[in-house]
Amino acid sequence: MKTLLLTAALLSVSASAMAEKIAVVGGKVFTGTAQGTLESATVLIDNHKVVSVANGTTVPAGYTVIDATGKYVTPGLVGAYTQLGLVEVGMSAGTVDSAVTALPVSSTGAAYDVSYAVNPDSTLMAISRVEGITSAATTISKTDYLFHGQGAVITLDGDAQPVLKPRAFVAVNVGNAGVDDVGGSRAALWVMLENAIVEAQEAPKTLSATTEWHGINSRLDVKALKPVLNGDAPLLIHADRAADIRQVIAFKQRHPTIHVVLVKGMEGWRVADELAAAKIPVIIDPEFNLPGGFDQMGATLANAARLHKAGVTVAIGMETHNIRLATQHAGNAVAHGLPHDAALAALTVNPAKILGMSETIGSLSKGARADLVIWSGDPLEVTEAAETVLINGEVVEHTSRQIKLQQRYQEFADSPKASQYIR
């Protein structure tokens, strides 16, 4: 066993040491940087990082060339809001790490930490990465607490260490869904939220186990909220109706150091100018265009375009098993007025910025992780697909449980009829 582990360790060292120098040549490149979109360009990758993006097809010596002529190249997509790595089958009887039940370590839910829970071997990882999702924000979806714990930013490369940034953000839901679990009324939830935040602000920097403490937050909740208060970890606030979003904006004005992000925001377009002025970005699924509740009456597919037009930073990608459909969602936002480049930014650089990770993921900027996707054509067209995916400078094997199922039953269908057990 010891030998095995040693061999594995050596292998992983040599694999990373020998990461190829790769040139992706001739594609139409959306950079996610000030370079914009280049019609025919070359992306150079070395030592897991982006070295440069330049017009033309010139490749220095020593690079392995991947031809992307006639194809589209983008940064790897960043799943803006997911439960990836925390859930295999949500409605199964087994453990689902995206749902949390009560424990005495937390009173407001902020303390819970998904970085302990991410499973890089989840089938969703390969299923999503072969379609261009290379990293994601992931956090708890179901809890009776005010806060949905501390989320993490993860890579989908299947590596033993999937967490790129633990405790990267804290989430809270102030819409109907959140209110239903916390206090039953906004009149209760907002008093709870405001006081949990103020209390964490006034609490001493460290609360040791022997410090007397009677707060509405537990000691560990306070610890989790401190990075939120100074703006290091964004606070992701779910809200849909305009009145709730106005409360979110007022919250931001009361607590200007907090990096507030609006999530879901179905009526965001009604307060788009105020959101832009308050510099509050939004994470949405633009396809939510129906009044699913009395806090969603203004839902429309034009939300993304209207928010963008007002100057709001928009990220698209709220799903888990089908986070791969974020491209379709973004495409439909384009069909309803969002500029194409803004839609690509909404899938890549904007979520990276929102998560405080823009130097690492979401763009093809010099020094960024070499997460890159070569698409058969326009990534937002439902008929096009990711053809080659690179994560951290290495080409991802194009396989997944779903691909293997397809191949097994295709072979079965193509073979002479046999009634025996397939294995």
């Binding site: 295999e88 089958v89 949500g90 409605m91 199964s92 969703l124 305009a242 009526e267 009604r270 396809e287 939510f288 265009n289 129906l290 009044p291 009456m297 203004g298 839902a299 429309t300 597919l301 034009a302 098993h321 089908n322 791969r324 459909l325 379709q328 495409g331 439909n332 384009v334 069909a335 309803h336 937002l380 067209e381 439902v382 008929t383 096009e384 697909a385 779903q402 199922l405 397809q406 039953y409 295709q410 269908a413 009829k417």
Partner: protein, 176 residues
Amino acid sequence: MKEFGYQIYSFQHAVEAYKIADILAENNVCSAMWADWWGFKMEAYDGIRENVPMVHKAGACAIVHSDSDLGIQRLNQEAAKAWADGRRVGIDIPQEQAWVWLSANPAKSLGIFDKTGSLETGKNADVVLWTANPFSTYARAEKVYIDGGLAYDLNDPQTWPVGDFELGQVGEGDSK
């Protein structure tokens, strides 16, 4: 079905139809399938993107469905995804044939193919004019005729439906 002498018209969801496509074909049973939904419960864990085209290729009746108030609004895109996913694994079905997944085949499975589901003399004039090839994300239904009447015109907000529920509420008359 055989034992009790009745005919099943369609299986709904049919996430694993691709595993028994030949048997479905032999028994003349349709499958109404998602393009790509999967994994929300164990019965859907083996969902694959090529379900619809694989069932079609086996000669069985394939239907693309949404089971969703969002997906049904853009069922053309669900068909487009299934069509493209099939093509990528070598199941090359012409687009005009793939269109039966959301027209003729569901009509047959519901027993109303004599009235709708294809453009044939004498049938109800249920017709859509698209802004572009409906296998594109960017295509929108521009004019929708139901039984010969113009039910929706993308360019005329007066024709956009406003339900009783929406009257006097935020979003009344807005584009959806």
